[in-house]
């Protein structure tokens, strides 16, 4: 083992880079990090891999898509649209779907990946919420995560609005009306964004730059920040034998988590490729080119916008006059609701600390059952937005189940308040019963004193939580429970 190995070409190259950039130290440090073992800690990776697929497929789409509202006539191979007048954007999206090699499957993988990007983010966020992983010192990373969620939702909307088909145009029309409904600044806002009265001459080109450049760049940067903070703070872990506030017990990034992550990336790619190849999504050739005078029945947004659509459908026809200004109805479901939603998400770590009075550092996670109030509130939140989401498809539910659409919406108006309350109560009782039957394992604080780094008692890899923070922080982390 101690014999000097022959300097292979790759080894020489690595040494050459290291001599100039000092990369070996950082790489070793990162690869030697211990990552705790729990399947739910890998959910966020699903979003990361979806993002990678989004970038790869998105770049392919940019080679063929023409983000222009110039008048144009379709002459491609889809017979039912031949000779129809349309914008260049819609024409190029049709050509991309029918006449570009692998164009349709790339478009479909891209769209499914967008749905799953946001969905896996929501699942990851639920895990972080229900286990209390957002508590001090991770409030900043929670807020970075909320920002990523908002950007993902916005960029999804911007993306499917580019194609200029009837469905996306209907969505843009609603977005325009919501922006217009904002008091004082609404008119300016829409003329800035759309370049004039709807549909405006500029919106597709502007959304294109926003969709393929600005927002993805910010998302990529924030993912970097998100993961840098994760490395810096080290991952949280559940309490258990040998696990304490002061240590991280699990396995090292190299080779275990590198292999697991690569495997998960392949599986994510496989699922997205299967969906993109086998399940048709957003058949724009059925929707037709956008015409502001038309709208098809059963027009719905993608799922992550569905709760906003549902809110627009459920809200009673209120309009308010304040200080001589009319506040139009779409302002409440379209601007106030998402504003309040995301403000509460941003503020949650601070609100919870305020209500519980618990401002200390936490590296050990809660079991949801041990925090019944938080868990109940989380369940109620999911129920609330779930009802809004279903209401967004109220007309489709009505025809599918043969129920009056009016009855469906009246029922949803009641359910919007009853279901969160009922599910919160059930969740609370379940938590209490489960916790009584199965008390929380105590923090095994003794371990932190003895094993700071290296191998834990049960043979798993272990890092000391505060090692990189200097003696002061280390003392704090180790001494906390004593």
């Amino acid at each position: 083992m101690n014999q000097p190995r022959p300097a292979t070409r790759s080894r020489r190259l690595a040494r050459w880079v290291d001599d100039r950039l000092g990369t070996a130290y950082l790489a070793t440090k990162a690869l030697r990090k211990v990552f705790p073992d729990h399947w739910s800690f890998m959910l966020g990776e699903l979003s990361l891999y979806s993002f990678v697929i989004l970038v790869v497929t998105g770049v392919y789409l940019t080679f063929f898509f023409d983000p222009s509202q110039a008048e144009s006539t379709y002459r491609g191979s889809y017979e039912a649209m031949r000779g129809v007048e349309m914008t260049a954007a819609y024409r190029s999206a049709l050509e991309l779907s029918f006449d570009v090699r692998a164009g349709l499957v790339m478009r479909q993988i891209h769209h499914w990946a967008a749905l799953l990007f946001v969905a896996t983010m929501a699942v990851h966020m639920a895990r972080v919420f229900f286990t209390g992983a957002f508590r001090r010192p991770r409030e900043i990373n929670w807020m970075v995560g909320v920002t990523l969620l908002i950007l993902a939702v916005f960029n999804g909307f911007a993306g499917y609005s580019l194609l200029d088909d009837q469905l996306s145009g209907t969505g843009l029309r609603i977005g325009y009306s919501i922006a217009l409904s904002v008091p004082l600044v609404g008119t300016w806002l829409v003329s800035l964004l759309f370049g004039g009265e709807f549909p405006g001459p500029d919106i597709i080109e502007r959304l294109y730059v926003i969709h393929i450049l600005l927002v993805p760049a910010v998302i990529a940067a924030l993912i970097g920040v998100h993961m840098a903070i994760l490395l810096r703070q080290k991952h949280t872990q559940f309490a258990g034998p040998g696990r304490a506030e002061g240590n991280v017990v699990g396995e090292r990034v190299w080779p275990t988590y590198a292999a697991k992550g690569l495997g998960l990336f392949f599986l994510t790619t496989a699922v997205l490729a299967a969906l993109g190849g086998l399940a048709q999504i957003n058949p724009i050739w059925i929707y037709g080119p956008f015409d502001p005078a038309e709208v098809s029945a059963a027009s719905q947004p993608d799922w992550y916008m569905g709760w906003l659509d549902g809110a627009m459908r459920l809200i009673p026809p209120w309009e308010v006059r304040a200080f001589g200004y009319e506040v139009p109805n779409p302002f409440f479901p379209g601007a106030v609701l998402p504003g309040v939603t995301f403000a509460l998400l941003y503020l949650w770590p601070f609100l919870e600390a305020r209500f519980t009075g618990d401002r200390s550092e936490h590296h050990l996670l809660d079991r949801p059952r041990d925090r019944p109030v938080r868990t109940a509130m989380g369940v109620a939140t999911i129920a609330f937005y779930g009802v809004l989401f279903l209401a967004g498809g109220g007309d489709v539910l009505s025809t599918t189940f043969g129920v009056s659409v009016n009855a469906v919406f009246q029922a949803f108006r009641v359910l919007l308040f009853v279901l969160p309350a009922a599910s919160a109560w059930v969740a609370y009782r379940l938590c209490r019963d489960l916790a009584q039957r199965d008390p929380a394992p105590a923090d095994d604080g003794s371990v932190a004193m003895t094993a700071l780094a290296g191998v834990a008692e049960d043979g798993r890899d272990q890092d000391d939580r505060a090692g990189h923070d200097g003696p002061e922080a280390q003392g704090q982390a180790v001494g906390k429970h004593h």
Binding site: A80, A279, G288, A298, G306
Partner: protein, 252 residues
Amino acid sequence: MRSVRSRLGVLCLVALFMSLAGLLPVRSATPATLSQMTEDGRQLYLRGCSSCHGLDGTGTPSGPSLERSGAASAYYYLSTGRMPLADEAQPRRKPPAYSRAQIDLLVDYVASLGSGPAIPEVHLETGDLAEGGVLYRSNCGPCHTAAGIGGALSYGRAAPSVTPADPVEAAAAIRTGPGQMPVFGPEALSDHEVASIVRYIRFLESPPTPGGAALGGAGPIPEGFVAWIFGVGTLVLAVLWIGKLEGGHGRH
């Protein structure tokens, strides 16, 4: 099942008519000029339709007048099984209650009641598919959906699916505007345009699905469910599996 029910409905109507016939003086609505064919149609009408539409087709509180329905309307309602009405909130497509020959007789009789549109002639080959798509999306899609699967209207009513579409039935519906549907007369849509629309509707019966499974054609709602149930479901299973794998490195 449906045809049994509709047959039962016919029987009920017949029974109702026979009991009414004993009570009411039958108004003479049979001019001597009626042909034998129309007379046969009238007999069918009296048995199956008159209890709601009146003995002379002028309507009753439970059914509208047929004086302006014309052959087109009668053909549409009878051929798609929407009439006679079963126990339903709005006429629904079901297997026809009458044979082709009986429908012809009834249509002939209803046409004789007043002035209404004749059964439209559709020359599909004269229609243009792409033009039909444009016309369909602006005139029909707003209620029947762009994919033609049907959509909700207010208070329990619904615009039905436009498929499967017999060309004459579809054209008759366009020309007569059954239920809450607007009437598209010759001033609104030329015969050529109707033929184009009918071509597009028949295209929608089995549109090409180059992207794979069509997921019901209802757009983002089923897509969202597939994303969550299949997509997120499979990925969470993958995470569960990979997350539980032992590293092999940590155990000594």
